[in-house]
Symmetry: C2
Amino acid sequence: MKISTKGRYAVRIMLDLAENDTGDYIKVKSIAKRQDLSEKYLEQIISMLNKAGFVKSVRGARGGYRLSKAPEDFTIGMILRLMEGSVSPAPCLDGGMSACSRCSSCGVISVWEELQQAINGVVDNITLQDLLDRKKIESVNI
Amino acid sequence: MKISTKGRYAVRIMLDLAENDTGDYIKVKSIAKRQDLSEKYLEQIISMLNKAGFVKSVRGARGGYRLSKAPEDFTIGMILRLMEGSVSPAPCLDGGMSACSRCSSCGVISVWEELQQAINGVVDNITLQDLLDRKKIESVNI
DNA sequence: AGCATTTCCCATTGACATGGTATGAAACAA
DNA sequence: TTGTTTCATACCATGTCAATGGGAAATGCT
């Protein structure tokens, strides 16, 4: 029932890009240092974010990454679905041929459906901007 | 983000036992047939349910399994937590040493906490009896 | 032009979990 | 005693996860 490291790290990476946005492009090396992640693994993850258009990149010296849109335009759900494929708790909710033949008679599927709705309700209603705001409020209270 | 087959099958097995309770003990073979699961794998799962005291067993001819308590005494959450260890979306919520050292400065953990609450809110508020009731209502509508 | 920096791309690895089989012993009813 | 059924354990094949490594291509700086 765990979200994979890919998914969780991706959220941290996106938030890091949002937090440290100075206008310049941000290097993998500096993200890795702040977030304490392996550069190589981080590279792999951010490459997926790049291919999906969530970040934009510049190669070469003084290159790096930045968010392609404003922090409020990215929900946690968008990021997780990209990395995980889906955020559903059971394969029969993902449609396609993984839908089990027993579904019609399966008394349990309603549980997974409720669960999925609950999950969506959370991840689709939190944006990176929300997280930035939370952090700001926290630091005031300290 | 998937619940493992162990967790999902366990719920189906428990519901099957609830549905087919005639007072007699129910054989693995008959559950496997109804639920279309491998007998051997099912055996493995129901053995965990047995050790946890969720079902009681009788060995030998005319033996089998039945629920140890009434269907309303088992929540989905109880079953999933037994099989999965936990239903939390991130290891740093499980306490112990898996709690990451970065938690205090981690802007993302609040997301996982919200997610966990949403998940708990679903699985801890559905019992096997609820599923029995739903099925009954459905069959009336058909 | 040449060099350092940095992203990009692909292949590989080790560990672990998943999903399932196989074998046989122990308990029990008829 | 014979057949049925749970119980216990070991085994295995496959896949995924999490990460590492090596080098090619692009870019800025001097």
